[in-house]
Amino acid sequence: MSQIPPLFKRELLGYFRSPVAYVFLVVFLLASVGLAFFLSGFFKSNVASMESFFFWHPWLFLFLVPAAGMRLWSEEKRSGTVELLFTLPVTTLEAVLGKFLAAWAFLALAILLSFPMVLTLAYLGDPDWGVVANSYLGSILMAGAYLGVCVFISALTKNQVISFVLSVMVCFVLALLGYSVFTEFLSGFLPVPLVDVISNFGFTTHFDGFTKGIIDPKDVMFFLSLIGFTLFLNVVALER
């Protein structure tokens, strides 16, 4: 595991060596803050809460996390650097973890850069700090789960477009499974226990608790085990 730090460092700095990082950060912040202001009425609601900001995250991540994750393995495969990487003294697990953690740290940075929103709340009102902290935790965990899916899919192809489109598809399904409109639609013709099982695989189901200030170990475990599972698949895909 001692090989993870250099790989992590190279990958994370790699985002900032190209315009990718700056474009991503600007688009993410404009979109997430814009949605909160213009669609959810961040100011108009007159409540010192970040809920209108976090409400959009499952849907925003649907496009933005695949955008940040699509290149991770596809690019290495296309440019041939994967051969360089795997003839250095690193194990596949170290390489996967180094890459994943770097991309996750980058996403966490993007999410945390929304801090001026929090400062605004603190200036204008008296927000519940526990809820705010929980929402950030939940958002970062959820971003990690989305990212796990995207990094795995990126390892399957050397084409970044395919990687992006497939990732969006899979993430869309995962987000939809927990979406109330969709589960209501399902309960029209499926038995309720089955619908509950299905919605338990949805991202929004497990994210909502965090935005209400509840840290349910089940939700944390859901995201962490999904990350673990996709990383395992990632290792298998690369060693194949």
Partner: protein, 240 residues
Amino acid sequence: MIEVKGLVKTYGTKRAVDGISFTVRRGEILGFLGPNGAGKSTTMKMITGFLRPDAGSALVDGIDVTTDPVAVKRRLGYLPESAPAYPEMTVGEFLGFIAEVRGFRTAAARRAQVDRAVALTHLESVRHQTIETLSKGYKQRVGFAQALLHDPPALILDEPTDGLDPNQKNEVRSLIKSMAAAKAVILSTHILEEVEAICTRVIIISQGRVVADETPAQLQARQPGARLDAIFRSLTQSDL
């Protein structure tokens, strides 16, 4: 130093490598010749642990690459075909990253290794340039610098002089020759004069099999007075 026993690799229905065996001792420079598609690169990729052989084994320093790939990778320097490198990094950053992964963890040790590799391959003038802006010859030298950065006991070079001008070719050849006394070197090439100039032994492969394994003088003695490329052609005729 390097011992290859009955390596086999099959792609679909095509046997790319069909039971190749040879050994390379320290101080030897083995020229690996063969028509395109004869299995040279595939064999090298199996020795370096990038590809898993379907049968047979490759040992470096007595260690089997399939049982302990990381230990083998530590002892090898490998220049893959077309010298892949991370294009957005500068030469200095890239070699620094390689040094870190190769176990030179303090800044001073890293700097010493990078300085040495940069001096050996004459990269001083482009040290702070990003790799994507380099000409093919310089890129090749970056790949070369990366391979010998940790002063490995065994070097595997896939077409090290590909894309270089005649002066650079000469320089790389004399560099390989000067280092070879303490190392086992395998290099693949299409250039027959290169074999005459620096190799102590030649292996010609054709359709995944070894068709000749001898010194350049012995190879020449097969048809006294003939040019090497005529001998090469007659040995690899089955590929045509």
